[in-house]
Symmetry: C2
């Protein structure tokens, strides 16, 4: 059986190797020069914090040694799954030809969203998704007289990039319409520690959006104009306004896209065409809590979908395919010494999902009361009214916030209640590590009280 994999960043190579292990004859096509890239570490690569280490996890030769027929600089331009054919441009040869496949895995990933404003093509404006993007930014920062960089977007990548730029001694200004960082991940009630850390690090955050990028005569970026008609002088712009799935190839081949815009899949990661599977950032996955299919373009999920897609695509058996279980949907970041993490649904997402939900935010210490080094941990939990079922959580703090969030992953996946977390879950305790009642359990007790108030409170009531 000949299995073709399209896309070589992370999920593609993982799927290819797994399929080889399961006996398939695998060819992998990647338009760029690299495969198997650790894209999550781009900010640290830009900061120069990884030493001489490359972001390349495995070279094409290493992947070849694993039994994969690797074709870098080969851009797939069309698919015909019915005939089992794809069209590919061999970029280094200027030639186009057809390749045959029995089965296909789409791992075309996601691309950085563009700002869609005039001047975005100026030299010195960088999206950050590929190793080439990262190397281009590094080269620009090394070669040009850069003092100030504007980062468009204050999400995970935006704050990580601001940290990287500060580590290089550069001024950094984040433009985010919310006027704060991580607005998509952290409720306003949890914003303070990260805001303070960002400010203390000398990063400016402005509640503005870029509307135009201005360049000098040589086409090099020199300023960003904002929706408040401000002109911010800068010598580079980082575009960090999110990602979008790369679906043109799939869509043109008649493969169904989901409501998210990603490739629709079943739990076995099969697409609407029976010979085609999808995995990684381009593929929808099921979410715990409500079963909704979402995009969750992060490495742990991409690895899992890659394995499932590969095992099923490589298998001749049609019965009992391996499936992807619903994910809790977790994310975390540590920047400027503060950790933030989110698992599951925010209150707004829960309400949007049709759930009658309540949420509560608490602050507690990371260690016992008098213990030196104790830091504040903020915990916000979302629970279903009545049942008290845990729907989501957000944590922030300078110590132990992100790893604490992990407790919520199995509990949310299992449909556990806030009461179970508050009363029955004997989390570890030791004065330098956690108080006898962990901040998570304090929050659970509070949200449980709210959830059990059957009679009062507005739908989706917020309390501080």
């Amino acid at each position: 059986m000949r299995l073709a994999v399209v896309g070589g960043t992370a999920a593609g190579p993982a799927a290819a190797v797994e399929a080889v292990r399961h006996g398939a004859d695998v060819v992998l096509f990647e338009a760029g020069p690299h495969v198997s890239v650790g894209a999550c570490e781009i900010p640290y690569h830009v900061a120069g914090q990884l030493g001489g280490a490359s972001l390349i996890v495995r070279t094409p030769a290493q992947l070849g040694a694993d039994g994969v027929d690797v074709r870098t600089r080969h851009r797939v331009t069309a698919l015909d799954p019915g005939r089992g054919r794809l069209t590919v441009d061999a970029l280094d040869f200027g030639s186009t030809h057809e390749e045959r496949f029995d089965r296909l895995i789409l791992a075309t990933g996601a691309r950085a969203r563009r700002l869609g404003i005039p001047g975005e093509d100026a030299a010195g404006v960088f999206p950050l998704r590929t190793l080439a993007d990262a190397d281009a930014l590094r080269a620009w920062l090394d070669a040009e007289d850069v003092r100030h960089v504007v980062v468009a977007g204050g999400g995970y990548v935006g704050v990580e990039m601001a940290e990287a730029l500060r580590a290089r001694g550069l001024r950094a200004t984040i433009l985010d319409g919310h006027g704060r960082v991580l607005a998509g991940a952290l409720d306003p009630s949890l914003a303070a520690p990260m805001d303070a850390a960002v400010r203390a690090a000398g990063v400016t955050v402005r509640a503005e959006r870029p509307v135009e990028i201005l360049a000098d005569g040589a086409g090099r970026v020199r300023a960003v104009r904002t929706d408040r008609r401000e002109l911010i002088g800068c010598q580079a712009v980082v575009v960090a306004v999110g990602v979008e799935p790369v679906t043109e190839l799939a869509a043109a081949a008649g493969i169904r896209l989901g409501a998210t815009g990603g490739i629709a899949t079943d739990d076995a990661m099969r697409t609407s065409h029976r010979a085609v599977w999808a995995c990684g950032d381009v593929a929808e996955v099921p979410r715990a809590v409500d079963g909704r299919r979402i995009l969750w373009p992060l490495a742990p999920v991409g690895r899992r979908t890659a394995r499932v897609a590969a095992r099923n695509a490589a298998s001749r058996a049609t019965a009992a395919p391996e499936t992807v279980a619903p994910i809790a949907a977790s994310a975390a970041v540590r920047v400027f010494g503060v950790e933030a993490a989110t698992v599951g649904l925010s209150l707004a997402e829960a309400i949007a999902a049709g759930l009658d939900a309540v949420a509560e935010t608490i602050w507690a210490g990371s260690r016992t009361h008098h213990f030196p080094g104790r830091r504040a941990v903020g915990v916000r939990l979302v629970a279903e009214r009545g049942s008290g079922r845990l729907l989501g959580g957000q944590l922030v703090g300078a110590e132990g916030a992100a790893l604490r969030a992990n407790v919520l992953v199995p509990m949310i996946r299992a449909g556990a209640t806030a009461r179970a977390l508050a009363e029955d879950t004997d989390l570890v305790y030791n004065p330098p590590l956690a108080p006898a009642v962990d901040p998570l359990r304090v929050a659970a007790r509070e949200v449980q009280k709210l959830a059990e108030q059957g009679t009062t409170g507005a739908r989706g009531r917020r309390r501080r």
Copy 2:
């Protein structure tokens, strides 16, 4: 309804306050001068690391303001639950009298085990359980010319005390028959980081047991003789060989003790006498995995049993009492910069419980591959052969080991499998916080493989 509480360290006051909230008329008897003591912080108090903070969480006056009739320096010497009477010595008055109760909560706690060797009563030999013990040790260290302290026992309290003594600039030698610290908590395959940290901190660990304590003419400890006939000169001895439940009062009143030696309770924390409940370190609690009743003398469990005992004892309703759910049984410590944690059963405990179990140890990085600050995390998981059900876990490492262990608490309680942890549990990921496949999931994958090997391997097979 008059509710008497016997014991004032931690669970007793918690139960008393909770019972007042539920309408009971509560009197609390405590033989010592203090109530509501944070005993877990004794080592840090000895080290002088808590600033001026006391270990007293609430004074008798504060507890009185909460509505509890507090009787410190009142030792209960006999119970007659059938008549609803207890006998109490008022220590400051030299008088004995009877008190009436309708219901009773026993929170008599645990005491430090003694060595049971000649010379143990010498001046300068300290158990460490009460605030008085801690203050006596501090006073000894302040007043005497102490240079070297022998710590008998290398468990949690032993290593914490060794750290405290080193923080005071004293030489410390741990005597532990296992020849290593935390032998009861960490499998030999996980011993290295803690052993190295203890050594690097200048603490000597000897595989010896004390057999005699030698004193000078004034009765002050001067040496410890060991079972290898070594004589170790020292000016103080800390006895940290575990605790045992204080059950004399209960036993003499005909209240049933369990197989552990603690007070037998049902899930509502009621003892064998219908008017008597028990909570805290003296009371047995149900363990997840096998439902066995165990002693787990740690604050989070003590608080929970106190609340349940108090609510049930204060309630006139007999139907549907509140119950304590089975605990995962977690413990953790951070000493000398290394964290260790255990949740659930060790392989030996699983086998002793009649389970067909396997275990596997792995080492992985706390952060992604090239990330600066990455530290090794050791994870050992125990799973049931065949089903792959998670039975227990142990973690060790300089970064993120203890809080990672928390993920196991809800999973072990829920009977989740190693496969679910390895494949379906999307733990948080961020290069400075965790690799894309968390060390916990690496371990889960390995133990799952072992557990699913139906045909080979000895019962309880160990692998490194």
